[in-house]
């Protein structure tokens, strides 16, 4: 793609009050004994850049396929643009307002990129006129395939195939664009361009539903996210809200013995005298940052505005922090804490490493730290 954009693209402003473009109501899909999607309720609103997150096998692609009418739900309903797609006529009309790539793009391998896009135009019921031909060329230009537009699709590299898939999704200027792992096979420059493109689409009023496990990417472009695990919806909301919930205060101590004591005090207080405290846990220090003698920091999960109250709380128990600073959560940590993350290998975040998660106490930050403290005592 010939886009030139800043490497870091700010997420478009959220339009949380918009009309619901896609809604799933109690959506379930069963394959024999396996529940791929379980009672899913999603709301994607107009103007959202909505991230659908989840480890492999969490039901993301199954949900997208049901949305596109490729597979049928076992139970539940899907509403697109305000009407249920179980009505065939509405589904057909609604799907013409959607551009999508699901998993790897599928095209006719012996046809050229341009011919394939003309085929997509036919499928999307775009008129066979000069305007459509111009639109095809415009999209080829946009995704950087114009010089190779006449080459057979089978001769394209993986990245070029992905670009053509994105082009096909954009072709009919849809109201809703569904992108399933759109940066697969793209080089770093291509990833940045896709990110910029998504932002531009959102600013133009297009709603984007992005499925990915590249959490860093999602955090940068999405306004709202839903997190799935094993077909269940674990969380849904605005990225800023979710990140606020996972931000906190970092405390460093000069005496390593104070680390478990501080964590224990914070955890006890979370349930009583400090209800604003969601939990606490050990965090390894950032590379290059000050390293307390204990080697780890204690994280208090709360709004940074409570930093002084935390300090006072610890002081009442005779514990004095040598350092107090703000801790910015990121989507990856939130995701890992929420999904348990065992066996998962999401893309590394630039800053913090994940908090240790103790088997048996997975899924909650408090559980994780409780396990860690038990381990420390042993």
């Amino acid at each position: 793609m010939d886009a030139t954009v800043p490497a870091q693209h700010a997420p478009p402003s959220a339009t949380t009050g918009g009309e619901v473009v896609l809604r799933t109501i109690g959506l379930s899909k069963q394959y024999g004994r396996i529940t791929a999607v379980n009672n899913l309720g999603l709301d994607v609103r107009q103007g959202d850049v909505f991230g659908l997150l989840g480890p492999n096998g969490s039901g993301k692609t199954t949900t997208l396929r049901m949305t596109l009418g490729l597979i049928f739900p076992t139970a539940g309903e899907i509403e697109l643009f305000g009407a249920r797609i179980s009505d065939t006529n509405h589904r057909r009309a609604a799907l013409k307002r959607i551009g999508a790539i699901v998993e790897q793009p599928a095209f006719y391998p012996y046809l050229s990129g341009r011919e394939n896009l003309r085929g997509v135009a036919t499928f999307a019921a775009m008129p066979s006129d000069a305007a459509t031909s111009r639109r095809v060329d415009e999209v080829l230009e946009l995704v950087g395939l114009a010089p190779r537009a006449g080459d057979a699709y089978r001769k394209y590299s993986l990245g070029m195939k992905q670009r053509l898939g994105i082009g096909a999704a954009l072709l009919a200027r849809p109201d809703l664009i569904i992108l399933d792992e759109p940066t697969n096979g793209l080089d770093p420059a291509g990833v940045v361009e896709v990110r910029a493109l998504i932002g531009e689409l959102a600013r133009g009023g297009t709603t984007v539903l992005l499925s990915s496990h590249l959490l860093h990417e999602v955090q940068q472009v999405c306004t709202r996210v839903a997190i799935l695990k094993q077909g269940n919806l674990l969380a849904q909301g605005e990225v800023s809200t979710l990140l606020a919930a996972s931000s906190g205060v970092l405390l460093g101590f000069t005496d390593p013995a104070e680390l478990p004591r501080a964590a224990g005090v914070l955890l006890q207080a979370a349930g009583s005298e400090a209800p604003w405290l969601r939990g606490a846990g050990y965090v390894p220090p950032e590379p290059g940052a000050w390293v307390p003698p204990g080697g780890w920091l204690v994280r208090a999960d709360t709004d940074v505005a409570h930093a002084a109250a935390i300090n006072a709380l610890l002081a009442r128990h005779g514990i004095f922090a040598a350092e107090v600073r703000r801790y910015e959560g990121n989507l990856e940590q939130y995701f890992l804490a929420l999904t348990g993350a065992e066996g998962q290998t999401p893309a590394p975040a630039p800053a913090q490493a994940a908090m240790p998660v103790v088997p048996g106490a997975s899924g909650t930050i408090a559980g994780a730290i409780a396990g860690a403290i038990e381990g420390g005592r042993a």
């Binding site: 886009a3 030139t4 499928f123 775009m126 200027r173 109201d175």
Partner: protein, 361 residues
């Protein structure tokens, strides 16, 4: 970044609910499937094989004609001679055969008969039957291969998702595919019959044949023959369509119809043998089972459709009617109804399968 108009525009893309709009969209899809089929290398190779073999066979017939006409020896009139008058030429079985030398006139007559027989397939309208017969054999095989590849690859390459996720209905996609196969069948049938007609009015007369006038109602008969040949092609392609969709596989789409045709051949042979051995009512029943086979009915239909034209072909004038099996004749209406029922069953079953099936990789 290149300035791009990303504003959603949907008015032109939605609103295909009227039946006419649906039909127009379906016709556009049909044209797309035909375009995609034509752009396959396989299509050109198969067309090359179809035409090349036809030209080759025509060439062999011409060669056979030339060789026969230039041959100096003509079969002699040999007849058994009563024992009392035996003089020479013991036939090795105790009796004797005497071959009388033929007169020049008789030799010429035999040569003319041979010439008529050899050049009949190259002379209009016998050339139509030659082209039609070739098409219902080689054309059927090649179209089955193309149809299997066309439909099977929609699933194998995942391109069916491309259509369905853009709002193309399942029934609409299937209708377009069926229509594409029908157009291909009609096109191949027409093309081959035109080729046959061209050969019939050029090569036959060049070899000394006299063109016969079409019998009364000949144009209607030509049309009926074209439709019968096309139905033959379409029905076998419909097997490919059904099996490729059922198995979501190109291999099944190609192997299925060919396997079915082979199955019919074997089944007819086995049933005839068993019917002969059993005799009685059961034997009679078994002998008539092939009357319900698709290939048998299609064959009977094409043969019956050619009958009005056969009167103009010297060598088959008053010849056999019906495709039949083991000397049995299948009625034209029976053949037509059974053939159409098979087509309806195959297409209907395919729609039924696709109606609620999940489309996955």
């Amino acid at each position: 970044m290149t300035p791009v108009n990303t504003a959603p525009v949907t008015a032109s893309a939605v609103g295909t609910s009227s039946p006419i709009a649906w039909l127009l969209d379906t016709w556009r899809l049909t044209r797309w499937y035909l375009f995609a089929a034509w752009r396959r290398v396989m299509s050109k190779v198969l067309l090359g094989i179809l035409l090349g073999l036809f030209v080759l066979i025509t060439g062999f017939i011409v060669l056979g004609f030339v060789v026969t006409q230039n041959s100096s020896t003509v079969a002699r009139d040999c007849q058994p001679v009563p024992a009392a008058t035996q003089q020479a030429g013991d036939n090795g079985n105790g009796g004797q055969v005497v071959c009388e030398p033929l007169s020049a006139q008789q030799q010429q007559q035999i040569r003319d008969q041979q010439a008529d027989s050899i050049r009949a397939p190259l002379t209009f309208p016998g050339s139509l039957q030659f082209a039609g017969g070739y098409t219902t054999f080689m054309g059927v095989i090649l179209l089955a291969i193309l149809a299997g590849a066309m439909i099977g690859s929609e699933f194998g390459q995942g391109t069916i998702r491309l259509a369905l996720s853009r709002g193309v209905g399942r029934a609409q996609a299937l209708t377009a595919q069926v229509a594409a196969l029908a157009v291909l069948a009609l096109g191949i049938g027409l093309g081959m019959l035109l080729l046959g007609a061209l050969i019939g009015v050029t090569i036959g007369p060049a070899l000394g044949a006299t063109l016969s006038a079409l019998p009364a109602g000949g144009v209607g008969a030509l049309l009926a023959y074209w439709l019968a040949v096309s139905l033959y092609l379409f029905a076998i392609a419909a097997i490919a369509f059904f099996l490729a969709t059922l198995a979501r596989s190109t291999a099944a789409g190609i192997a299925g119809p060919l396997g079915y045709l082979i199955f019919e051949l074997i089944a007819i042979g086995v049933l005839s043998i068993v019917a002969l051995a059993i005799q009685g009512d059961t034997g009679d029943f078994l002998r008539h089972v092939p009357d319900w086979f698709l290939g048998q009915n299609l064959g009977a239909l094409t043969t019956a459709a050619f009958q009005p034209l056969a009167a103009a072909v010297p060598t088959i004038r008053g010849g056999a009617t019906g495709g039949g099996n083991g000397g049995q004749t299948i009625g034209t209406m029976h053949a037509l109804l059974v053939s159409l029922a098979y087509c309806a069953l195959l297409v209907g079953s395919t729609y039924f399968i696709m109606r609620r099936r999940d489309v996955t990789d």
